[in-house]
């Protein structure tokens, strides 16, 4: 990272290269200077806009079609964003009409499928708009060799994570993966989450799911996310389970190697006491 210039009014500005936190903002009196104040307001506005941005499923479906993917558009039982935000139970289940659509599909295609990919707006349609296609492209490269049967991609408006359980159960799926917009942070309005469930059925708790979080350009790369997901799916098929009993060991290894890092190796404590 570039070294910030020395500023006599903000003498510890250079600490900024050590963390993305909003440090060394300076002060006017004891208050936040105008620039920092408005930067914050803009970041919050972006996060708010991401929460309320409608899911543009029309564009996404035509892009999917161009790439040869069938898709189905469904709606959760939450009728609008207000209902979605206050009633998580409604976002976790399909509307009656949508459940009907899936039942019809299942009777026309008996025998179930290996994998259903669900895409839901969650708390950030922006994340889904930005990352669905490039992530799916990386995932496809990796799952091609598995010869899994795959259902049409299921899009759910006003959906929460657990809605994938109902989708998976109705389609007789062995596995579901849901791509869903995560709660926007101030510096991450477009973070995509992936939740994987083996043998999905209505009523499962989070303990039966595995989560891969923070998929975005500044976070976890598409390739790495697809790699981890594939690892989970293969292990799940071998051990016939998902969730807390199926640890993402690829992930655990990288974290453990960081854990032993010398926490004393920082400027506040160096040079070490004699």
């Amino acid at each position: 990272m570039e070294k910030p210039p020395y500023d006599p009014h903000n003498p510890w500005l250079e600490l900024r290269r050590l963390t993305p936190a909003r440090i060394a903002l300076g002060r006017t009196g004891t208050s936040l200077p105008t620039r920092a104040q408005l930067d914050f307001q803009y970041a919050h506005a972006q996060a708010r806009d991401a929460v309320h941005l409608p899911f543009d499923h029309g564009v996404l479906r035509s892009q999917l079609a161009e790439r040869g993917h069938d898709s189905v558009l469904l709606h959760s039982a939450a009728i609008d964003r207000n209902s979605y935000l206050q009633r998580p139970d409604l976002g976790r289940k399909l509307s009656d009409a949508s459940a009907h659509v899936l039942r019809d599909h299942a009777s026309a295609h008996p025998g179930g499928v290996d994998l259903v990919i669900v895409v839901a707006d969650g708390l950030s349609a922006l994340a889904v708009h930005r990352h669905t296609l490039p992530f799916l492209a990386r995932l496809e490269e990796q799952i091609r060799a598995e010869n899994w049967s795959v259902a049409p991609i299921v899009l759910v408006e006003q959906g929460r994570v657990a809605v994938a359980d109902e989708v998976g159960e109705l389609l007789g799926a062995k596995m579901t993966v849901i791509l869903i917009g995560e709660r926007p942070g101030l510096s991450s309005p477009d973070s995509l989450g992936l939740y994987f469930t083996y043998n999905p059925k209505v009523g499962l708790t989070d303990a039966y799911r595995n989560c891969i979080s923070n998929v975005r350009l500044e976070g976890l790369s598409y390739g790495m996310a697809a790699h981890r997901l594939l690892y989970l799916m293969r292990e799940a098929c071998r051990r016939q389970l998902s969730g807390v009993n199926l640890k993402d060991e690829a992930h655990v290894q990288t974290l453990e190697s960081d854990a032993g890092a010398d926490m004393k190796g920082n400027f506040l404590l160096s040079p070490p006491d004699a």
Binding site: L25, A50, R183, D258, A261
Partner: protein, 464 residues
């Protein structure tokens, strides 16, 4: 079971039991609607408040909201109830109790004596018929003082938890936020990290780092890494320097079970902390976090409204002589507290109820991006809690927690409260700030030093 009825004019409202009266008397909030326990309309809500106002406080000892046999928190509340202290108000109804609390008869000393005589349900009940100004006025009378390396909760003081979180626990990044906070005069309540990784090796390394910083710069504060109490016990067993023992707690046995704890586990954590004897002024060392909606989100609320469940968590807290209790009021999301109005009211209720029960309350004045709230709402709650005499608030760089993805009060926000309300840090920390040349306070005004403190100038020089 008792049936409660209340008539207003020609309309009669009926309530199934005390739990139903309490839930329907609660000022409106999304979590109670989600749980299906809220009043159906505003009229029913006020009728429930009227019915509640007529219920004698002594009745709360007869009709428990969650059965004694089913819940260890209820057993704790009933078994530790101090009847002698309760005698001060045992003749009052809930409504009479509100009047008494607002009167001159209820002063700081009397309220301190009364605290062990109150159950959380009594505190929650009276809060439901109090306006914001009542919650502020009564809380302002109360002081709950605790000590470890500093003295928190004195009148005219406001402390801050410096929260230097980093998305990957990078030591230099954490240190940068710590220095930024110290140079803004934050950190007297504690330097407390929410770790991104929960491995024991990483937790221990962070504890070692915080201890080394506190010792190197002789900061009269205490450190905490917010990990599960069983991990803290493991760290103590490994001989790692650990000041405060953290745990999230809730107001029902089942909700606590969802956190992987019970009263015995908390006792083990408390004992482990005490065994280190690291407090120089006192041995208050438990740090608890709570928040309305936690019991409901664990599906462990027994049909009790979320504010009453929250208040029951303070009975758990006070059993372990905590250093600090923090209601993380807006973190849980809009399905429990929908907007700024609900968050503000909840923060004031929690602070009032905790203080009334003798708990050293602080508040994480915060919101998430999917709640209908913003910085103006946080400024309002901060100002109100500052007037109400809150023990501590959070302090983070620029209000933006880059690890937990939510917004809470900033280093600057604490300075605002100091300037406008004349609130000083803990006395030991105030002296340290003066000695280091960071700032002094005269007549409320914050006067910063003219240059960087030499010790920190040296540290910055290490960056090259």
């Amino acid at each position: 079971m008792a049936v409660y009825a209340h008539s207003v004019g020609a309309q009669t409202y009926r309530f199934d039991n005390l739990k139903d009266v309490m839930a329907k008397a609660s000022p409106a909030r999304s979590g109670d609607f989600l749980a299906g326990v809220a009043a159906l309309n505003d009229g029913e809500r006020v009728a429930a408040q009227m019915a509640l106002a007529d219920i004698p406080l002594s009745h709360f000892l007869q009709e428990v909201l969650i059965p004694y046999e089913d819940d260890e928190v209820t057993r704790l509340i009933i078994d530790t109830h101090d009847k002698q202290a309760f005698a001060l108000v045992s003749h009052l109804t809930v409504g009479g109790f509100r009047d008494w609390l607002l009167s001159d008869a209820a002063d700081e000393q009397v309220l301190r004596t009364l605290a062990p005589g109150l159950t959380p349900e009594m505190a929650a009940a009276v809060s439901k018929i109090m306006r914001v100004q009542d919650l502020v006025l009564v809380a302002q009378k109360i002081r709950v003082v605790t000590q470890f390396r500093g003295t928190l909760g004195l009148r005219g003081r406001l402390s801050t938890r410096l929260q230097p979180n980093h998305p990957t626990d990078e030591p230099a990044g954490i240190a940068a936020s710590i220095l930024d906070g110290l140079l803004h005069g934050n950190g007297d309540a504690m330097i407390g990290i929410n770790p991104a990784t929960d491995s024991i090796a990483s937790i221990c390394a962070m504890l070692e780092m915080l201890d080394a910083i506190i010792q190197r710069y002789e900061i009269p504060t205490q450190a905490c890494v917010l990990t599960h109490v069983t991990t803290s016990i493991e760290a103590v067993n490994r001989g790692v320097p650990l000041d405060l023992v953290f745990q999230s707690i809730a107001g029902t046995e089942a909700a606590n079970a969802s956190f992987g704890i019970n009263l015995n586990v908390l006792k083990e954590g408390y004992d482990a902390g005490l065994s280190l004897n690291r407090g120089t002024l006192g041995q208050n060392l438990m740090y608890f976090e709570t928040g309305q909606g936690s019991a409901l989100s664990a599906n462990a609320h027994h049909g009790v409204d979320q504010q009453t469940c929250e208040t029951r968590a303070y009975a758990v807290a006070r059993h372990f002589n905590p250093f600090l209790v923090n209601t993380v009021v807006g973190f849980i999301g809009p399905e429990y507290l929908y907007n700024g109005k609900q968050i503000i009211r909840a923060g004031l209720e929690d602070h009032f109820c905790g203080k009334l029960l003798g708990v050293p309350m602080g508040c994480d004045i915060c919101y998430t991006n999917h709640a209908e709230a913003d910085q103006d709402d946080m400024d309002t709650l901060l100002t109100l809690l500052g007037v109400a005499g809150i023990n501590f608030i959070m302090g983070i760089p620029g209000s933006d927690d880059i690890m937990l993805n939510y917004q809470t009060t900033s280093f600057h926000d604490a300075l605002y409260a100091r300037q406008t309300l004349g609130l000083k840090p803990a006395p030991e920390f105030e002296q340290w700030l003066a000695k280091m040349g960071i700032f002094t306070q005269a007549d409320g005004r914050v006067l910063f030093g003219n240059s960087l403190p030499p010790a920190f100038r040296q540290a910055l020089a290490q960056l090259g």
